[in-house]
């Protein structure tokens, strides 16, 4: 818990002080170069998004270079109005939230437990479990889709049900691997000492391990969040009822079929893209400050 407390950490974790110290290792020229690299990167990453917003507001398509700048005569909200009239955005948003929330809970609770036991505990079958987690990464989801569909829709009767949408994604295996990886980096001595003091494994996990792997938790939240939020193939197959479809599915539908008949198809597609991207980007910006406390390592590795 106190790993991030600068007063207690001998190596200090205020990003400011850290930055200053490191900058001193760079010459002025190198600093400038670094600034340029970062700025170029930022432009390359942000420009398509800027363009997405501009394009979604255009009355008619303007693919020229001048089209990248807003032209008051060519601006309109019609593209958004067109989407809103075809799709129930709020329902889609709520469905996406339920789908994503379910997966996050499953991954953070059970994935964390599994990652911990894979890294810190010795038990029979540990190796095989880890190998399974690795194999899950390797196998394309399209190979599993139909057997899975039959299993969930026919055998479990979970078609058109939130559980059916969530189930295949419930525990993210990549998250398990990431948790394990981070737990492995923690000094074993710490845990052995606490075990001798009589702490239970759950308590070790909760009070020692978890605070130390906070960056891993944040990484996992980000990684896990975007999976279900952006997934469209599976929920598309398993839900026949439009009232249960997540936003990605209804917007993918809109983009691939309905938009073509809109007045400005590109504008309609881009408006759909903005609607899908906006909540994630907004959430991300709000919570991004939690992504900055990454000084896990200071006391740990050595």
């Amino acid at each position: 818990m106190s790993a991030t407390d600068p007063a207690l950490s001998p190596r200090g974790s205020l990003s400011l002080s850290k930055g200053r110290r490191h900058s001193s290792g760079l010459s002025r020229g190198q600093s400038i170069l670094r600034g340029i690299v970062l700025a170029l990167g930022a432009v390359a990453f942000l420009f398509p998004f800027y363009y997405m917003v501009i394009g979604s507001l255009q009355r008619s398509v303007d693919p020229t270079v001048a089209g990248a700048f807003p032209d008051p005569a060519n601006l309109t909200f019609d593209n958004y109005v067109a989407i809103d009239s075809r799709i129930d955005l709020l329902t889609g948003l709520v469905n996406s939230g339920i789908f994503t929330g379910g997966v996050l809970i499953g991954t953070l609770v059970f994935g964390l437990l599994a990652g911990y036991s894979l890294a810190m505990l010795q038990w029979r079958g540990r190796g095989a479990t880890f190998a399974l987690a690795l194999l899950v990464q390797v196998v394309p989801f399209q190979l599993l889709m139909i057997p899975l569909y039959v299993l969930i829709a026919r055998d479990y009767g979970l078609a058109d049900n939130y559980l059916g949408i969530i189930l295949p994604f419930f525990i993210n295996s990549t998250a398990v691997i990431i948790f394990r990886q981070y737990f492995l980096q923690l000094p074993k001595e710490l845990f052995e000492a606490a075990r001798i003091d009589g702490a239970t494994e759950l308590r070790l996990l909760w009070s020692i391990a978890l605070p130390l792997v906070r960056p891993a938790v944040i990484t996992v939240v980000l990684l896990t969040f975007i999976g279900p939020w952006n997934e469209f193939l599976w929920p598309f197959l398993i839900t026949k009822d439009a009232a249960l479809q997540p936003l990605a599915v209804s917007l993918a539908n809109y983009i691939s079929t309905v938009a073509a008949s809109a007045a400005n198809p590109f504008g309609a597609i881009l408006a759909g893209a903005v609607v899908l991207a906006a909540p994630v980007v907004a959430l991300f910006i709000v919570f991004q400050r939690y992504f900055t406390s990454t000084d896990i390592g200071s006391g740990v590795k050595g």
């Binding site: 690299v37 930022a42 196998v139 399209q142 899975l148 494994e201 980000l222 952006n230 993918a252 900055t292």
Partner: protein
């Protein structure tokens, strides 16, 4: 606990340090030293067995039989056909080409991902101003749905799109996504762009684990920023590099959404079809799940081999 954490590393292994369990020990405890581990992992294990192992087993079964999907209750023969489906799959030039395509994809995407994400993460790690802004801008493509960003890229890279307008006479003809030699590289660059934020995050976290003393001592030795990057940073984040290599290879091999959405199903003329896309077409559209499963099995084996080689040569040494 904080004290324990920051105390100089205990000298000598405390009692009970995990050592390879002796045979005698194992005999006494059939579930291993900490049977609790099994309990902790049980939900995950059950999950994996149900939604992964069973479908995979079923898919392997399908790959060796003359199989098609039927309505419940329909009685049909599904004879064992040995390697027939594999012969059909690998005898199909489109399938072979798709494996080649994904090879091109990986050859561009993986090195680009590793280099760019490490460089950007290192730069980002030391920057003080605009840190938040930069972070956000790097992660935004990663958190956004493919479905959404593909729309913009289509717009940017279409024949009369923004990129060609910018390039003017230098614009490729035929344009990016319909040019059989540029379609796959364009997709590879798109995916690199899209995923980079995640790998930057992995590296950033790993960079925190590189002891600051190493930089300090490198600095005392007179190493400049570039040299300390190669002598301290690169070796320091090697476990992360192994992970980045592995994850980017595996995601790349499973490429599907981008050709599905960006090049209208693997065009032009199959130049951007990936094995998974072909699986999807054969299995779900053309009613040949048996051939699709065979392609999937081949793909999985190929990826396992590559992952094994990467692990071997990039030197994963973490237990």
């Amino acid at each position: 606990m904080t004290d324990t954490l920051h105390a100089p590393a205990a000298s000598g292994p405390p009692a009970g340090t995990p050592a390879s369990p002796s045979v005698a020990k194992r005999g006494r405890r059939p579930l291993g030293k900490n049977p609790l581990g099994l309990l902790f992992s049980a939900p995950y294990l059950i999950f994996v067995l149900v939604v992964f192992a069973y479908p995979v087993g079923y898919a392997v079964y399908i790959a060796f039989h003359d199989f098609f999907f039927t309505a419940p209750g329909a009685v049909v023969g599904r004879p064992f056909v040995g390697l027939d489906n594999f012969v059909t799959a690998l005898g199909d030039p489109a399938v072979i080409r798709s494996f080649g395509n994904v090879g091109i994809f990986l050859a561009i995407n993986v090195p680009l991902t590793v280099v760019l994400s490490l460089v950007l993460a290192t730069a980002l790690n030391r920057v003080t101003r605009f840190r938040t802004f930069l972070r956000v801008s790097y992660y935004v493509p990663y958190v956004t749905a493919s479905v959404a960003v593909v729309g913009v890229w289509l717009f940017l890279f279409s024949g009369n799109g923004f990129v060609n307008a910018l390039l003017g006479p230098l614009a490729p003809d035929p344009s990016w996504l319909v040019n059989s030699s540029l379609a796959m590289p364009t997709i590879a660059i798109f995916v690199t762009w899209k995923q980079l934020g995640f790998y930057i995050l992995l590296y950033l976290a790993a960079l925190q684990g590189v002891p600051k003393e190493l930089y300090e001592s490198a600095s005392t030795d007179g190493a400049g920023a570039v040299r300390s990057f190669f002598s301290v940073t690169v070796p320091g984040v090697r476990p992360a590099t192994v992970l980045v290599l592995l994850v980017s290879t595996v995601t790349g091999a499973n490429l599907f959404t981008e050709p599905y959405l960006l090049t209208g199903g693997g065009g032009p003329n199959g130049a951007s079809a990936s094995p998974v896309l072909i699986m999807y077409q054969r299995g779900l559209q053309q009613g040949q799940p048996d051939v699709a499963a065979a392609i999937g099995v081949v793909l999985v084996i190929a990826v396992l081999i590559i992952a094994y080689l990467q692990n071997r040569f990039a030197g994963g040494d973490d237990r």
